[in-house]
């Protein structure tokens, strides 16, 4: 049933927890690794950015808060919800650096909602709606919200001109004021041509490194997934690159050919680590390579198929990514559930932009990206 499926997917992709109690350290759920107020102990609330569905409630996207304190009488129940008064294809959200505000966006209408979750986490308030992203930048489909000190770096998926995948990153200050824009490179850098596409963002401050990935534009992600995969022309318009930026100068320094729509990115941040990881959507090979190699490049493929081919069950993709690649579980990484990967989403009714870690129903292709030369 389409409604149920979309709701479940929506719940799965935009869940963030708030903490009121102070205890021991635990895992951090946020992308940005250096914000304040990191999670300690038991979370008290879960904030869920939900897709509006016609005929269900007021039909609008909502921020829903669930009591997650086992000692509470309302444990496990919805205790608060805020309707934003429309459907914009609710997708990801992210905390500001002080963890007091949640920025949540719509892939379709390109609106960004800023919720105050710090004053009273049990009752968030909508304090600002940012609707000038397309006008200020020409970009559309705000996707990733990555907290930088005092500002938000937003990775987008599309543009307003042709609604394709050429896009860029936008910077807003924490008050919601536009600061700057940076186009994803479509030029050729070091013999590799960029596609101009965008998706995720990940920063490694010790290396002055900003890594971005690429997915697809509005023309594809708002279509029914089943239609897209049967449309050879549409399938040509997926990203196949990652870009290493100089974080200080915000200039692209290297483009990496990473076929198959590389998506989520995580850095290994502990001292001595020199790699990042991504999971690609359209193929299922695993690749390990330096990001800036000259003679030191390793390229190990443990399995690869084309999207048009049959399902390729890459057994080593099971379990935690950290275990898969490095024999240990690292808290920075999320598990890639084979059950989600194995779902035959060609028969599912959902838009291409609705996704979990395993995009498009394929076993995720994992790319272990090492920084051997750039910072070595």
């Amino acid at each position: 049933m389409r409604i149920d499926r979309r709701l479940i997917l929506g719940l799965g992709i935009a869940v963030i927890m708030s903490v009121a109690a102070i205890g021991s350290y635990a895992d951090e759920t946020c992308n940005s690794p250096y914000m304040s107020g990191l999670i300690k102990g038991q979370e008290d609330f879960v904030h869920v950015w939900t897709l509006g569905v016609p005929g269900l409630g007021d039909g609008s996207d909502k921020l829903v808060t669930i009591d997650a304190n086992p000692a509470s009488k309302t444990y496990g129940k919805v205790i608060h919800k805020i309707s934003v008064g429309g459907r914009g294809e609710a997708h990801h959200m992210g905390f500001t650096d002080d963890r007091k505000y949640l920025w949540a966006g719509g892939l379709d209408d390109s609106k960004i909602y800023v919720f105050d979750v710090g004053t009273n986490p049990s009752h968030p308030k909508l304090v600002k709606t940012i609707d000038d992203l397309p006008a200020k930048t020409g970009y559309a489909g705000p996707h990733t919200y990555y907290a930088l000190p005092g500002r938000m770096l937003i990775g987008n998926l599309s543009n307003v001109a042709d609604k394709g995948g050429v896009t860029g990153m936008a910077v807003y200050n924490n008050k919601g004021g536009f600061v700057a824009k940076y186009d994803m490179p479509a030029s050729t850098i070091k013999q590799i041509k960029g596609d101009g596409y965008g998706y995720d963002i990940a920063v490694n401050p010790a290396k002055n490194a900003l890594l971005t990935s690429s997915f697809t534009g509005w023309n594809n992600f708002m279509r029914d997934l089943g239609e897209v995969v049967k449309d050879p022309e549409a399938m040509k318009h997926f990203g196949g690159t990652m870009v290493m930026w100089n974080l200080k100068t915000m200039e692209p320094e290297q483009i990496l050919a990473v076929p198959g729509a590389p998506l989520e990115i995580r850095w290994a941040l502990p001292e001595g680590q020199n790699w990042a990881i991504t999971a690609a959507a359209l193929t299922s090979a695993r690749r390990s390579r330096p990001l800036a190699g000259e003679g030191r490049r390793r390229d190990r493929r443990s399995g690869e198929d084309s999207f048009a081919g049959g399902y390729f069950d890459h057994g080593r993709c099971e379990g935690f990514v950290g275990e898969h690649l490095h024999g240990r579980h690292h808290a920075l990484f999320r598990s890639h559930r084979p059950r989600a990967s194995a779902a035959n989403l060609r028969q599912a009714h959902r838009r291409t932009g609705e996704h979990g870690v395993a995009e498009l129903g394929r076993a995720p292709r994992l790319h272990d990206l090492e920084l051997a030369v750039k910072v070595g």
Binding site: I22, D97, L269, L332
Partner: protein, 228 residues
């Protein structure tokens, strides 16, 4: 710790594992202007915040005198002392840079308290390093809100306030026109990078003094990318 995983949230000292871009080879974003306010200097006189954030390149941070977190206020001021020495050694920056340390606790950090605390940092009369507080908390709160500087009082197990103010260590680089151009949280407190940022701002207003230390002109694409 949870399930034996490594905790990524614990604060660690910043690391510098790259060659910082040379001054003037990049442009710092114009992040936000600063609203004015009235504060109290270490002699007990009122002072406008705008007088401390305009006319010179300013590095501003928040602190409290009894902070003992080794990666908190003491670390911030150690970093600033390092930068003060670098600035003092660069003739092109003479008289063009100031530091401002604003107390988070007007109740305990009186002018006398901040004067005592700041003694070791303000010994050089040629370098302007101002320590300021506020007359009362309600006059400080709008300043904190404007800068986006969070602060809260840690509570003990009985819910009583402790002497620990929990705040995210931030340092704000402000141009001579009073606009925030860079914000450093702990992971970004890399003195060489910060020094290059200061010099980059200095080069904006004095192109004739562009140093020869590897500086280069902004690329046309970079210049066009600038918002203003």
């Amino acid at each position: 710790m949870a399930n034996g995983t490594e905790d990524p949230g614990k604060a660690t000292a910043p690391r510098l594992e790259f060659m910082p871009p040379p001054p003037g080879s990049y442009q710092l974003q114009k992040i936000q202007p600063i609203a004015d306010a009235v504060l109290l200097d270490s002699t007990g006189l009122t002072v406008r915040l705008s007088a401390l954030t305009q006319g010179k390149i300013t590095l501003l941070t928040f602190f409290y005198t009894y902070c003992v977190d080794p990666l908190g206020c003491p670390f911030a001021h150690t970093t600033l002392a390092d930068l003060r020495d670098r600035v003092a050694g660069d003739r092109a920056l003479a008289g063009r840079v100031r530091f401002v340390s604003v107390s988070l606790d007007p109740t305990h950090d009186t002018p006398a308290a901040i004067a005592s605390y700041g003694q070791e940092f303000t010994a050089d009369p040629k370098f302007e390093w101002r320590f300021v507080t506020a007359r009362r908390v309600p006059e400080l709160l709008p300043v904190l809100d404007d800068f986006g500087q969070d602060v809260s009082v840690d509570l003990d197990q009985d819910g009583r306030a402790t002497r620990t103010l929990h705040h995210m260590l931030k340092m704000f680089l402000i141009d001579a026109g009073g606009e925030v151009r860079e914000i450093y949280s702990l992971a970004f407190l890399q003195p060489q990078v910060m020094f290059n940022d200061i010099k980059t701002l200095a080069l904006e207003t004095s192109p004739s003094s562009r140093p020869d230390s590897g500086a280069r002109r902004l690329s046309p694409a970079l210049a066009a990318r600038s918002r203003q």
